[in-house]
C-alpha cells in the first residue's frame, strides 16, 4: 500500500472555527488508511509551503491529500510543492473543505461530518491516481491572418517580426478593397484612400509578410502551435502554409434592408444605404437636400452596430463641406456616442449646420421628382420634408464566410452569427480553439479604432505565447481511448467540442489528439463501453470517490 499523507489546513480562522479538525483527525486515525496526518495554520503561505514540502519528504509519503480550499485557488500552488517534495504533481488530491463545507454549512457538527466524508472520499480516490507526465511540443511561430480590411492589415503588421513570417490570406479580393469604397475615415475625417495606401505600402515593404490576394482557403488543419493551411493562390493550387496561430479578421458586411419598403429602398433610385452612398458620384447628383435615417434594420438585427451614428455624421459633414448650402437632416431614434471624442464630433457636426430630428415613426414616399419624408416627431407632431436623396444608415452583419470558417475551427457563433469570443471580458479576442483569434467585424460590429485595438491585442497574445524555439506545454489531464476496447462508433467524435477526437479509418477506432484535447471529459462520459477515459478522472477514480461518499 502506498503511503498516503493527509494535511489539514486551518486557513486561519476560516476552516478552524467552522470545522472540528480534532474530530476529523481522530476519525481518520481510526480508519487507519493514511500513514500520517499533519495540520497547519495556512498551507498556502511561504511558511506553509515549506512545511508541506519538508513534511512530505521527511515522512516519505507517496500520495498526498490536502484538505483546504477550492482547487480553483490553490491546486496549482500545491502541485508545485509536490514537485518540490520529489513527487509527481498528480499523486495528490485537494479537498475543498472551505468553500464547500466551512463557508456554506453553518452547523459545526454538520460541517465536520461533511468535511470528514469528502476527505475520506479523497483518500479513497488518491489511491488510484496515476503519475501523469507533462508533454511539450515545439511550436511554429508563424502567423496566418485571414481577411482584407484594416483589422487584417494591422494584425499582419503587428505580428510580423524578424524571426516569424506572416501569411496574409485575402479570399477572393484585393487587400483593402472595401476602403477604396470609402471617402473618409472616422473620426479623423482623414482620406480613406491615403490611409489605406500608407498601410498597404507598409505591408508590402515588410519582408516578413507575404500577401496572398485573390486566394481561396481549402482547409486549415492542426492545432495551436502547428496549423497547416492549404490554399489556392492566384498562381498555384494547393499551396501549404505552416503557422502556429490563425487570426480571423473578416470584415463585417453592410446590412441590406431588403424588406423595408416603407423607407423606399429598392423602390426609389435615390434611396441609398450609407455604404452605397460612399460609392456614388456625388458631383453628378449634387444633392440640395439630404435626409439620413438612422438605425435602419436595428430592430431586425437585434443589436447596435456602434459605428453607424458616427458614420452618418461623417457623411453629413462630407456633404456639408462640399456645399454649405445643402440641407442635411439626421432622423434618429437614439444616438450612440460612446467614445470620448464622439460627443465633440456630434457638437461640431451640429455647429456646421447639420440638423437632427428625433422621430417616432418615419416613412419615405415619392412626390413628383422628389422624396417626401413623412415623420412623427418625438412630441407626436406629424411633419413632412421634401428631399433629393435619402441615405439609410444601416448596421453591420457577419461576413457570409463566417459560418464556414466557424465550422472549420469549431468556433461557436453567437445568436447574431458573429464568431463567439472565449470570454467577452476576460479573453475577448481569443476563441475556444486555442491559437485561433478573432478580430474586427468577424467577432461583432465596431469601428476602425476597435479593429486596431483588437489587432494589437491578438498580436500581443501571439507574440507572447508563440516565441520561436519555445516549447509549448500541453494539457496533462486529457482523455485517452483504449485501442483494445474501442470499436469506433464515433459517439466521442461527435461530442468533442475541440475537434480533438478523430476516427482512425484504418484501425476503426477513435484517437485523441493530445495537443487539441482540453480534458473536458465529454468523450469519456459519452463512450458506452468505457474505452474513452479521462486520465485524471477515470471511472475507477470517480467510482471510488463516490462509493466512499454514498456508503
Amino acid at each position: 500500500m502506498a503511503k498516503i499523507g493527509l494535511y489539514l489546513c486551518e486557513c486561519g480562522p476560516n476552516i478552524a472555527q467552522a470545522i472540528d479538525l480534532d474530530e476529523i483527525t481522530e476519525a481518520i486515525k481510526k480508519d487507519n488508511k493514511v500513514a500520517g496526518i499533519e495540520r497547519h495554520k495556512l498551507l498556502c503561505s511561504d511558511d506553509g509551503k515549506k512545511f508541506l514540502a519538508e513534511s512530505i519528504k521527511r515522512n516519505a509519503f507517496e500520495r498526498v491529500v490536502i484538505a483546504a480550499c477550492s482547487p480553483k485557488q490553490h491546486e496549482g500552488t500545491f502541485m508545485e510543492v509536490m514537485l518540490e517534495a520529489g513527487l509527481n504533481a498528480y499523486m495528490f488530491q485537494l479537498v475543498n473543505i472551505r468553500e464547500q463545507c466551512a463557508w456554506v454549512t453553518p452547523d459545526k457538527n454538520a460541517a465536520t461530518l461533511k468535511a470528514l466524508t469528502v476527505i475520506r472520499a479523497a483518500i479513497n480516490r488518491v489511491k488510484h491516481h496515476a503519475a501523469l507526465e507533462k508533454k511539450e511540443i515545439e511550436c511554429n511561430p508563424n502567423v496566418i491572418v485571414i481577411g482584407n480590411g484594416i483589422a487584417a492589415i494591422e494584425a499582419a503588421l503587428k505580428t510580423a517580426h524578424n524571426d516569424r513570417k506572416v501569411f496574409l490570406i485575402v479570399e477572393g479580393k484585393r487587400i483593402g478593397d472595401t476602403y477604396k469604397n470609402r471617402r473618409l475615415l472616422l473620426s479623423s475625417m482623414q482620406s480613406a484612400e491615403e490611409f489605406l495606401r500608407s498601410k498597404v505600402d507598409e505591408l508590402k515593404s515588410n519582408k516578413q509578410i507575404e500577401v496572398f490576394e485573390n486566394s481561396k482557403i481549402n482547409e486549415i488543419l492542426g492545432f495551436f502551435g502547428n496549423f497547416i493551411a492549404n490554399i489556392d493562390t492566384e498562381k498555384n493550387k494547393n499551396v501549404e502554409l505552416a503557422a502556429g496561430s490563425v487570426i480571423f479578421a473578416l470584415e463585417a458586411e453592410s446590412f441590406v434592408p431588403k424588406a423595408l419598403t416603407n423607407l423606399g429602398y429598392g423602390k426609389f433610385d435615390k434611396v441609398y444605404t450609407a455604404a452605397e452612398f460612399e460609392t456614388i458620384d456625388v458631383d453628378e447628383t449634387e444633392p440640395k437636400s439630404v435626409a439620413i435615417i438612422h438605425c435602419v434594420g436595428r430592430k431586425k438585427l437585434g443589436y447596435c452596430s456602434k459605428f453607424c451614428c458616427m458614420n452618418s455624421m461623417k457623411i453629413a459633414r462630407y456633404i456639408k463641406e462640399r456645399s454649405h448650402e445643402s440641407k442635411v437632416v439626421q432622423f434618429y431614434r437614439n444616438l450612440c456616442l460612446p467614445d470620448k471624442q464622439y460627443d465633440k464630433f456630434y457638437k461640431d457636426t451640429k455647429e456646421k449646420g447639420v440638423e437632427f430630428v428625433r422621430f417616432q415613426d418615419i416613412e419615405v414616399a415619392g412626390e413628383e421628382s422628389r422624396l417626401a419624408i413623412k415623420y412623427k416627431e418625438e412630441n407626436g407632431k406629424e411633419s413632412k420634408l421634401l428631399v433629393d436623396i435619402v441615405i439609410l444608415s444601416t448596421g453591420l452583419v457577419p461576413a457570409s464566410k463566417t459560418e464556414e470558417f466557424s465550422q472549420m475551427f469549431n468556433i461557436p457563433l453567437d445568436e447574431y452569427g458573429f464568431m463567439k469570443e472565449e470570454h467577452n471580458i476576460l479573453n475577448p479576442v481569443a476563441t475556444i480553439t486555442e491559437g485561433v483569434f478573432i478580430i474586427g467585424g468577424v467577432r461583432g460590429p465596431g469601428d476602425i479604432d476597435d479593429s486596431l485595438e483588437q489587432a494589437g491585442a491578438a498580436a500581443g497574445k501571439i507574440l507572447s505565447s508563440l516565441v520561436p524555439g519555445r516549447l509549448q506545454p500541453l494539457e496533462t489531464k486529457i482523455s485517452r481511448v483504449s485501442e483494445v476496447i474501442c470499436i469506433g462508433c464515433g459517439v466521442c467524435v461527435n461530442v468533442c467540442a475541440y475537434g480533438a477526437v478523430k476516427l482512425d479509418e484504418s484501425k476503426h477506432i477513435s484517437v485523441v489528439n493530445e495537443v487539441l484535447c482540453r480534458g473536458c471529459g465529454n468523450c469519456a462520459s459519452a463512450c458506452p463501453s468505457g474505452a474513452a477515459q479521462h486520465r485524471h478522472f477515470t471511472t475507477k477514480q470517480i467510482n471510488q470517490e463516490m462509493i466512499e461518499i454514498l456508503k
Binding site: I487, C489, N494, V495, A526, P528, S529, K551
Partner: protein, 375 residues
C-alpha cells in the same frame, strides 16, 4: 405506388427464392445475404450466397429469428464496405437495426440493398427447436391468416412488420393477399430499376395490400398500447424494476444478441472498472442488511437501456435469448418508445438522420432549462 402480383401455389418462400435467383442470374446483385436453415434442421443462420445453387436451400422468411440480421451484416461490413453488390433479405426490424448500426459506424451500407418481407412475427426459438416440424407447418398457415397465439409477445406488439417508412429499395408483401399470391413492391426508383432488370414491371394496384397493412397497424398499435399500459405499473420505480428483473442470472445474453449493443466489451464485463474491493461490498451489506450477488444486476439493465434505447427497434431478440424467461424486450420497448418520442426519433427510418446521442447541441440544454423552469 404500384406493385406486381405473383401467383404461385408453392408458397411465399419459394416465390421469393425465384426472385433472388433472377437477381443473381441477371447480375443485378453479386451476392445474397439470406436466412438459411442450419444443418440440424432446427434453427436458422444467415448465409452469404455467392453461388446460385445455394439459393434453393435458403429460407427468406424463417419462422424464428435466432440471429438478428443486423448482426450478420455487421460481421460482413464492420471493417469497411463490400465491393460486391449484396442484397440482404431481412425482416423490417433487422433492417432498422442495420440502419442504426450504420449510424454508429458498425455497418457500411455502400453497395448494400435490402428486400424486406411482410412479417407476421416469429416463434420463440426454444419452442421451435423442440417442435420444428409442426411449427413449420403452422407458420405456413399463419402467413395466410396472419394471426396466432404462439408467436413471440414482442411480435404481437410490433408496429413495423411491413415496409412503412423503411428507407430501402424492395419489399415483398403478403398480408391481405390471397393464399397463392404475393406482391412485389419497389420502394424507390432504384428498386424499380432492379425489378425491371429481372423483367418485373410493376403496374398493378396495391391498395388492397395497403389497406390490410393499415388495419393490421391499427390492431397492433392497440395491442401495443394495451401492453404498455399493463407494463407501466410493473416497472415504475426501482423496487418494481428490481422485482421485474429478479430472476436475472447476469448471463448478459440479452446484450450479446441485441443488434444495437455493439460494444467490443460491455462496460459491465470490464471487471477492473466495476469490481470493488471486498470491503466495499461488506459495507454495503452492513448498511442494507445484505446484498445480492452477482451485483450490478439492475445497473446492467439500466446501463444497457440508457445506451441503446434510442436505437432499440423492438426486435425481441433479448427476450428470445433470456434463459430465465424475463420479458426483457417488453420493458425495453416500453422505455424506448417513451425516449424515442421525447426526441422525435424513429430508429431506422432515415439513413441520414443522426441518432440524438450523436448530436451535441447547445440549445438542447436550453430546452432542458426551459422545461425545468428558469430560476
Amino acid at each position: 405506388m404500384k406493385g406486381h402480383i405473383i401467383t404461385s401455389t408453392e408458397g411465399l418462400n419459394k416465390a421469393v427464392k425465384r426472385i433472388l435467383m433472377s437477381f443473381i442470374e441477371q447480375g443485378v446483385f453479386d451476392a445474397i445475404l439470406v436466412p438459411t436453415r442450419a444443418p440440424s434442421g432446427e434453427s436458422f443462420v444467415y448465409l452469404l450466397i455467392k453461388d446460385k445453387k445455394f439459393i434453393e436451400s435458403c429460407s427468406p422468411l424463417p419462422p424464428i429469428m435466432p440471429i438478428q440480421g443486423a448482426r450478420a451484416l455487421k460481421d460482413l461490413t464492420r471493417l469497411g464496405k463490400t465491393d460486391l453488390r449484396v442484397l440482404c433479405v431481412m425482416r423490417a426490424c433487422e433492417i432498422r437495426a442495420s440502419i442504426e448500426l450504420s449510424k454508429l459506424k458498425q455497418i457500411n451500407l455502400e453497395n448494400i440493398s435490402f428486400i424486406s418481407i411482410d412479417c407476421p412475427g416469429a416463434f420463440v426459438t426454444r419452442d421451435y427447436i423442440n417442435n420444428s416440424a409442426e411449427l413449420d407447418k403452422s407458420y405456413g398457415e399463419i402467413l395466410n391468416v396472419w394471426k396466432a397465439d404462439n408467436l413471440r409477445p414482442s411480435c404481437n406488439t410490433c408496429v413495423s412488420f411491413s415496409c412503412k417508412d423503411l428507407p430501402i429499395d424492395l419489399h415483398i408483401g403478403k398480408i391481405g393477399m390471397k393464399e397463392n399470391e404475393i406482391i412485389v413492391v419497389p420502394l424507390s426508383k432504384k428498386g424499380e430499376e432492379f425489378l425491371s432488370s429481372i423483367q418485373i414491371e410493376c403496374a398493378q394496384d396495391i391498395s388492397e395490400w395497403q389497406t390490410a397493412i393499415e388495419d393490421m397497424q391499427q390492431r397492433k398499435t392497440e395491442n401495443r398500447n394495451k401492453a404498455f399500459l399493463e407494463l407501466k405499473n410493473k416497472v415504475t420505480g426501482i423496487d418494481n424494476l428490481n422485482n421485474f428483473f429478479s430472476n436475472c442470472i447476469n448471463c448478459h445474453n440479452c446484450m450479446r444478441v441485441c443488434p444495437i449493443c455493439y460494444c467490443r466489451q460491455c462496460f459491465f464485463e470490464s471487471t477492473d472498472q466495476v469490481r470493488l474491493e471486498a470491503e466495499n461490498y461488506i459495507i454495503r451489506a452492513e448498511n442494507k442488511g445484505g446484498i445480492r450477488f452477482p451485483t450490478e444486476m439492475i445497473l446492467f439493465h439500466l446501463g444497457r437501456m440508457s445506451h441503446m434505447a434510442l436505437s432499440c427497434v423492438g426486435c425481441g431478440a433479448c427476450e428470445d435469448a433470456c434463459p430465465m424467461d424475463i420479458p426483457v424486450a417488453q420493458v425495453f420497448k416500453f422505455m424506448a418508445n417513451e425516449l424515442q418520442q421525447m426526441f422525435d426519433y424513429v430508429p431506422g427510418e432515415k439513413i441520414d438522420e443522426p441518432i440524438p446521442i450523436l448530436t451535441y447541441k447547445e440549445d438542447e440544454l436550453r430546452e432542458y432549462e426551459d422545461a425545468q423552469g428558469s430560476k
